[in-house]
Symmetry: C2
Subunit: 324 residues, 2 copies
């Protein structure tokens, strides 16, 4: 099968590429072509038996999506997009990339031959406060960011184009991905990863919110697992409601820190410094906390079951099996 | 205040224009200008003290929305759109008018001076089966038509642009408008009005679905009431969740017919002929039935409380007070 990945140069895109390089199969079928697209040049690995091609461009530019669709993908992982903070800071950029780019891709696939499985990376940012204690699958999406709005619109297009038989879409609402590798960034959610990643590397981390904050996490490894599971899922089992809230581990920040202590001992925990930040707290307190994710679990999507596991996944995948 | 009505030549647009001609005030403020826009020329009535202007064009065409926004409306009633059947039959037309037209209007208002109240005619078509017995305000929107999808996207844009302070939007999800005046049309919902309107005019009406079908209705008079109430509503009371499911009268088709008997006697009821239609039934059985509409009621939106009232409103407004 031919596979297209948009946003292939991003963190999840690179992880997905790595997994497909290690095991070039989806749902029992061999991957023979892997088209890796991003607005910056993505790395195309050498994979035996797979034609991996790096493609660079702007999905929203005229003709760009049509050129990708003409390559005849059987599976599309649509990961491209600008992140939450950027979409909030630059309204027109966010709508152009996250809405126009997504619509251009879906329209190009509609007008091309075939009905590819399209796995769309949506986000729990489609939800906005206030919430019940546990958010059920039937809870309405009322985003409080432009990013969440754009993801919601992508979901609506995905479901309609699937219903009409133009594509065969599955939207997956990702929880916060933790532990995010790499350097600290300015994202309001950055500390959820920072308080684990930085101490494990022997560096101080700031904690800007109370330890009582509850949030749902899944590892980068689980995120890739969700994508691959969605790619192979029987659409008839899913039915017309094609956008699924993914499972994850709901914990307090205090429980995150306790898990760090269990896995790596007292030393890294001492590197976490409380530094209350009203700006971050104002954003975080409107974020969703726990999800039922009933349908996703029934459909076989699986995440970690404890935050210990999430930390261990980080140590295995990023630190060669031992804290630095 | 200056008022803009898009879709002014449609049934609801004409009713709204008529009401504003009779009472050119919104929320206690005098209307001094009434811009009536549609893709076909709308009628602009003579109203003392009000500059009524008929404007014709395609909202999605370059510059069209900007020209309307430049007229500096304080209140915009955005009613323009292609209907459900048309949006399903012609995908590109539906997305162009209902999505691109709406987005062009909101963007033009964003880029113009001022922060007008924008009342957006959404629809219960944003919902898709299966449903609980009574649909709560927090129920998720999973449309099963392209029309419903386009309305949902408009709602998402309205809420985001309101949150960011570009417009001051209120989206109202209208139930089925009944009794719809005029000739029978091909809409799958047409029979809900037809079985009342046609017999009252001495003509036969076909009933294509079982009498047990439950559906929620509001009169054209109530629809205009919703629009005007939304135009004057205090946005701070509404908060960030700007799209509201309107109240209505939930009745079975059998109860509709019983109400017709109560109001107009046995003769019109005898003109209803059962003519089961599998195609219409397949559509109608996926439609939502009853709504809680809790928030809308709390915010002062009011509909009829019985189907008798809906029939009497039709007789008063369309038949000069007595059945034909």
């Amino acid at each position: 099968m031919r596979v297209l990945v948009t946003g292939a140069a991003g963190m999840i895109g690179r992880k997905l590429t790595g997994r497909l390089a290690a095991t070039p199969r989806i749902g029992g079928r061999a991957v023979i072509a892997l088209d890796l697209h991003d607005i910056v040049p993505p790395a195309a690995p050498e994979i035996a038996g797979v034609a991996a091609t790096a493609l660079t461009g702007d999905l929203a530019a005229p003709g760009a999506a049509a050129a990708l669709a003409a390559r005849g993908p059987d599976v599309v992982f649509h990961l491209a997009g600008v992140v939450s903070g950027e979409a909030e800071a630059d309204l027109e950029l966010g709508y152009r990339v996250n809405l126009d780019g997504t619509r251009a891709l879906f329209d190009a696939l509609r007008l091309a031959d075939g009905t590819p499985r399209v796995v769309y990376a949506s986000s729990i940012a489609v939800f906005g406060a206030p919430f019940p204690d546990v958010i059920p699958d039937e809870f309405h999406a009322t985003p409080l960011t432009s990013y969440g709005t754009q993801k919601l619109i992508g979901e609506a297009l995905l479901a309609d184009y699937t219903r009409r038989g133009f594509i065969d879409g599955i939207g997956i609402r990702l929880p916060t991905i933790c532990v995010r590798p790499g350097k600290p960034n300015k994202a309001a959610s950055g500390f959820f990863s920072g308080i684990i990643r930085e101490p494990l590397a022997g560096r101080e981390a700031l904690l800007p919110v109370p330890r009582s904050v509850v949030h749902t996490h899944a590892s980068p490894r689980s995120a890739v697992g969700f994508l691959l599971h969605a790619a192979a899922l029987d659409g008839a089992r899913v039915g017309p409601r094609r956008n699924l809230t993914m499972p994850g581990v709901a914990v307090t920040v205090g429980e995150q820190i306790e898990a760090l202590r269990q896995v790596a001992g007292e030393a890294p925990v001492r590197l976490i410094r409380e530094a209350p930040d009203e700006t971050i707290w104002a954003i975080v307190r409107n974020w969703p906390t726990r999800f039922a994710a009933t349908r996703a679990r029934e459909l076989g999507f699986a995440a970690e079951t404890s935050f210990d596991e999430i930390i261990r996944a980080h140590i295995e995948d990023e630190l060669g099996g031992a804290p630095g």
